[in-house]
């Protein structure tokens, strides 16, 4: 399994998709840095500036997260199915290796690469904000917790893709990945709007329709909990130990906080996906 992990990691670095996303990331970070330099040119003091700065940070992380998700899809959709489709799997699985070792090895190898990549993106965005003089004060614990959840999202997404790639073709896995990600994104937005409606509107109508939006959001989080994790990340990053929160409402921020049950669910979600993917893969005729 160590061998599979090692070579999965190596292969990734040689993939064209990896190069492409790296260039895209550099481009993005440059533009973001340029934008920040313009925004922080004028002196800021008011509370509105802090809210604005929080928005800028959230937006930066949101797109960084998006790029990482893009990397996950591009590098992982064919992780197992591609080996089957090209025929390279014959010489691997005819060896004294259990099939789950291949699935798990691929997952771990890709995870290492994705955590590294995702961490670089997160630290770059946060670092750039600090560098340009953001008024938001981060503690190390904020940054570390934020980083943890920023990296967790792509790993959960990876588990779904690896499981799908062990069972279905590359094309179908691509479709499943993009659909699941899209649904999670839309669901997250719905849940935010729902929460906002419940908080701002007093009328029974607002409460009711707000609630149904929240429920829709919860269901989509069950399908792929990346958005929930993302909101948790924002919360961890922006809530001070003193209790002051720099969190803001809006498309990139987060209002409703995921519950602990959601995180228990996420843990079992990953374990189940990998288990099920490996099991179905073991039963397959190759």
């Amino acid at each position: 399994m160590i061998t599979i992990i090692k070579y999965t990691f190596k292969e990734m670095l040689k993939k064209r998709a990896f190069l492409l996303v790296s260039i895209l990331s550099l481009l993005y970070l440059s533009i973001y840095a340029f934008g920040l330099s313009k925004i922080f040119e004028r002196p800021s003091n008011s509370i509105y500036d802090i809210i604005f700065q929080s928005e800028i940070l959230s937006a930066g992380l949101f797109f960084a997260n998006f790029i990482v998700a893009f990397l996950v899809v591009l590098t992982s959709v064919n992780s197992i199915s591609g080996e089957i489709e090209s025929g390279t799997i014959y010489s691997i699985l005819s060896k004294p290796i259990k099939r789950y070792e291949l699935v798990l090895g691929k997952f771990i190898g890709l995870s290492i690469m994705i955590v590294l990549y995702s961490s670089i993106m997160f630290l770059s965005v946060v670092g750039l904000n600090i560098w340009f003089g953001s008024k938001i004060s981060f503690g190390w614990d904020n940054i570390l917790k934020g980083l943890f959840f920023f990296d967790l999202g792509p790993i959960v997404f990876l588990a779904l893709i690896i499981a799908s790639s062990s069972i279905f073709s590359t094309i179908n896995t691509g479709i499943i990945a993009i659909m699941a990600y899209g649904i999670a994104l839309v669901g997250g937005v719905l849940e935010q709007i729902g929460t906002a409606m419940q908080q701002s509107q007093v009328g029974a109508f607002g409460l009711k329709s707000g609630e149904s939006l929240i429920n829709a959001g919860i269901i989509t989080s069950l399908i792929l909990p990346t958005d929930v994790i993302y909101r948790k990340m924002t919360a961890e990053l922006l809530t001070q130990s003193s209790g002051i929160s720099f969190m803001t409402q809006g498309l990139f921020g987060g209002m409703s906080q995921p519950s602990i049950y959601m995180f228990i669910y996420i843990f079992f979600y990953m374990v189940f996906l990998l288990y099920y993917g490996a099991k179905r893969f073991s039963q397959r005729d190759l």
């Binding site: 061998t3 599979i4 090692k6 070579y7 292969e11 040689k14 090209s86 025929g87 390279t88 014959y90 010489s91 691997i92 699985l93 005819s94 060896k95 004294p96 290796i97 259990k98 039963q283 005729d285 190759l286």
Partner: protein
Amino acid sequence: MVLETQNLTKQFNGKGGFKEVTLSVEKGQVFGFLGPNGAGKSTFVKTMVGLLHPTSGFAWILGKPIGTVESREKVGFLPENFRYHDWMTGKELLTFHAELYKIKNPGKKIDELLELVKLKGHESKLIKNYSKGMQQRIGIAIALLNDPEIVFLDEPTSALDPVGRIEVREIIKELKSQGKTVFLNSHLLSEVEMVCDEVAVINHGRIIAQGKLEELLKEHTHVEMIVSDYTSELIEKISRLSKEFQFKEGKLSFKVEDREKIPIIAKMVIEADAKLYQLNTQTSSLEDLFINLIGKDEVS
């Protein structure tokens, strides 16, 4: 027995594959698995190495039931539609596969195998830039990395030129001399004929003939005789000893399973006081046998 199967069947939704194959391959043999395209050879080998799950029946490799990790420990496999990770160099690819086998310090073994498959000097080229024939040869090297007890070669010369074919034949002979067992899938009779001790012929997923190469050849010695002053009783006796018997105006044509029957038949003719003018025998090549068997199977 290095390999043994009992009524092993693998079908895809009730179609294709192979049916009720019962085989045993002894240690040190070069076993030829012969059949036309689509006969079920690749399906059989892929089932042996655990890539396909059998529909029914049993099989063991070195006493271990197939499908288990243990059964693959001493096995080498060259797939038919071989494809290797083309972003690696030849040496990296061999190292990768050696690591999959958990071989410690594979450097020496890799050098040895590069020498054997005549890829020395090409080991730092990317697999991408290898010709089809070179890829097939590195595939053979991969199949031998772990010093296997049994090597499954699925059409190992399909991408090779005549010289390459001879080289593979030499490699097979070398393996045999090392006491290893080789299971050779082929649709080419000439290939099987030249290296195999024992052969099974498969068609439409079923074994239709099996045995030692010489015995299979013996089975089909064609005899032509010209006799006179015969009795119908004599003709009848000969027909009972032979196959595909034809008789017309003193001319007999038939096949015998065993060459030893020829002198017996000759003696019968003499003892029946008939006159024997001519007796020709022709031992058919495996190719004739092959075409014959496939042809017969087609009819029935």
